[in-house]
Symmetry: none
Subunit: 227 residues, 2 copies
Amino acid sequence: MKEGPDIARLGTLIGDPARANMLTALMGGQALTASELAQAAGVSLPTASSHLSKLEDGGLLSQRKQGRHRYFALADTATGAMLESLMGFAASRGHLRHKPGPKDPALRKARVCYDHLAGDFGVRMFDNLICEGTIIAEGENLVLSEAGEARVSALGINIEKLHSPRRPLCKSCLDWSERRSHLAGSLGRALLAHFIDQGWARRMADSRVITFTPEGERRFMAVFPVD
Amino acid sequence: MKEGPDIARLGTLIGDPARANMLTALMGGQALTASELAQAAGVSLPTASSHLSKLEDGGLLSQRKQGRHRYFALADTATGAMLESLMGFAASRGHLRHKPGPKDPALRKARVCYDHLAGDFGVRMFDNLICEGTIIAEGENLVLSEAGEARVSALGINIEKLHSPRRPLCKSCLDWSERRSHLAGSLGRALLAHFIDQGWARRMADSRVITFTPEGERRFMAVFPVD
DNA sequence: CCGATGTTTTGGTCTTGATCGAAGCATGCG
DNA sequence: CGCATGCTTCGATCAAGACCAAAACATCGG
């Protein structure tokens, strides 16, 4: 009866609105201080502190002390992936927090999903990569083709450095706003970092929104032309 | 701030122990009545009824009236997948419901995972099937090889009858006690049923424990020799 | 040292929701 | 029909935990 993994505990941790807001805020990938998270969650500092220690006990967060500040971040990419899959499922059941309308067009257009690009732009990139054969979908798994390696290198990314035993190179991630897949994994991360490096796009403070410069958007569209 | 899917609602739904128990009980894919679920969750019928309607409102369950009974099942495979991924994550964080020690060795040795064999014996069987080429892993998916069909038939199982549009023949299932895969799907179910039919093993009442007879264990070990 | 800033602990209030007994519906069986 | 069975609704109880103010703790800059 009382056997097996304790999903109830995990559910309870995620189930509180304040904690869910904090986790969502951390999906942006950057570490945030306790005060920032308190504000994001809309609760007082003591309350936030209590929530944060619960989340940490539950293994969802990692914390790093730095001077007077205490920075919190998602424990690892598995945590981010788990949350995003929850978001995908919630969205598929129509569990939205605001009305379905395009209240936040910027967020639907391009946003960061933990560390990679999501939203309309993310899906567009993914579709192009599949379409041109850079990435091949084998069932659930994604593989970078040989031609794809050249293609990615040509974009200015060093693939050698992306291989890691801890994390897959390519992974698909369900996009809650588009209800389609976009690219996660270390390649997904590198591509977003590259766009920002090149000055094509910028991350907005206190939000998951990614804004492309006019020139950056032009370039992006040129590189990923298929609509 | 209030953007994105409402994972808090989903978390709350899963976060109650009674509801989590019900969902876990339904992971086997078979539909259960309200009374059965009440017992599985360890709550009274009125309480269970209330939980079930919440789960249904949340889109996690579907219900089918049949005579006096009301059968509940997971809404779809996406729901099952979401729960399984939650279980995997919970297990990876050590969120187990009883103490880590070998409190229940029998349970770790062999138990039923809804309808198929899990625990040490389940993992052993799985490893043997893979090793001898009966089952081939293609990424996430499992396929029964041609040689495998013969092998399984030789064990006394009628494969024809196992094919179903509703359920895959072979599926891997993460074993929380071993942290490795074992065999689910209709073949997994049939194998367990076969062991019990042959008198190799018995299910214990009110428990997930499977006990092998000495003779049954000897046979099992002979059929699946690889450790 | 001291005061300012960031965070946690303490102590107490209050709301949410899980729970069950009893009563109310619905369906099937004889 | 009428009784048994399966489930839901109602009403009331009760406990877990979310919440904040105030005080304690920690760290830095001067």
